[in-house]
Amino acid sequence: MKFDSLLDTVGGTPLVGLPRLSPSEDVRLWAKLEDQNPTGSVKDRPALRMLVEAEKDGSLRPGATILEPTSGNTGISLAMAATLRGYRLVCVMPENTSVERRQLLSMWGAEIIPSPAEGGSNEAVRVAKELAAEHPDWVMLYQYGNPANSLSHFEGTGPEVLEDLPSLTHFVAGLGTTGTLMGVGRYLRSAAPHVRIVAAEPRYGELVYGLRNLDEGFVPELYDESLIDARFSVGPRDAVRRTRELLELEGIFAGISTGAILHAALAQAAKAVKAGERADIAFVVCDGGWRYLSTGAYEGTLDEAEARLEGQLWA
């Protein structure tokens, strides 16, 4: 395969069967390997699309400064695209994210403004909105509310999965900005309305939920609950356990959030087996495990891994 530039390689990722994790011939699991995007995560899709759309509508001009609140992956994707297209990037990132993500962001040329660990990404969003008000010339692409985020999945991820797997019965992905599920969900609601759309959201330690009051809570502007059918909260223990199973049984070295998604996918598989129904369950591998090695999730017992992840934004 030949491409004109790295940016042209975004998307078109493999969908891989998981013969050892699938419970039977009739109930099968399929992994959409989004870690095989150029910077190694699913976020290359929305990042590039948000940038291209902002160029098209004129809000992003040559030499501009882009601002984005991110726990890491979106920032890394934007940093790569911004470098290739000649923009400066400023990322607001919570302190309790892995050191690899911070290093990668710097390597790709982004400037990082840390936000307090307490309150997690909510704080990053708040700080970024303040900065945007102080610097009206900066362009905040704002992944939580930018329709180009879900559009990248509506036109890319969704059609790719259905084309590779016309017998699809379930689609399972993580819920952060909600972009993947909103885009794929909207696509499948019309193209294959019988497909069950399932969300897995990470359940962090208490520090991350340390809001001062409930009105500081946050629901991304993109979120439309009618586009999903079920939503599961998955803690670090189950996420790490599944991440390790994916590695040991199928050879896929994924990040911790993928373990949370696999946990929800396996629950759907168990349900189908119990009901005696056929199922083809596709789920998203968001990124590889490389950028989480320092968290300690991949060594020692589950108890040790769980303890090390306490207070960290592991997804």
Binding site: T74, G174, T177, F218, S233
Partner: protein, 94 residues
């Protein structure tokens, strides 16, 4: 029918600092009513009435055995002995 309800930091002022309390009832709505008798004020933080209809507050997520109740019947989601209810504020990911 004892249902364990895990309370987020921000609402522990209503539970004397307890992380986890127990409630009784066959539905989430009944469990919340029962919590209110032992921990007055907590119901108002979880539930609001709009157009005469009670619903969970926008930034409150409630899970029964890790599944978001907004997809399983909302406040009328049935619960049974041994189920675990988790209350969490809605936070950003990404």
């Amino acid at each position: 029918m004892a249902i364990e309800v895990r309370i987020p930091t921000i609402l522990r002022t209503y539970t004397d600092g307890e992380k986890s309390v127990t409630g009784e009832g066959g539905t989430l709505s009944e469990v919340i009513e029962d919590l209110e008798t032992n921990h007055p004020g907590i119901k108002e933080r979880l539930v609001e009435a709009t157009d005469g209809q009670s619903d969970l507050r926008r930034f409150v997520n409630v899970y029964v055995n890790d599944e978001d109740v907004r997809f399983t019947g909302g406040l009328e989601t049935s619960v049974s002995d041994g189920d675990q209810v988790v209350v969490l504020p809605a936070v950003a990911g990404g």
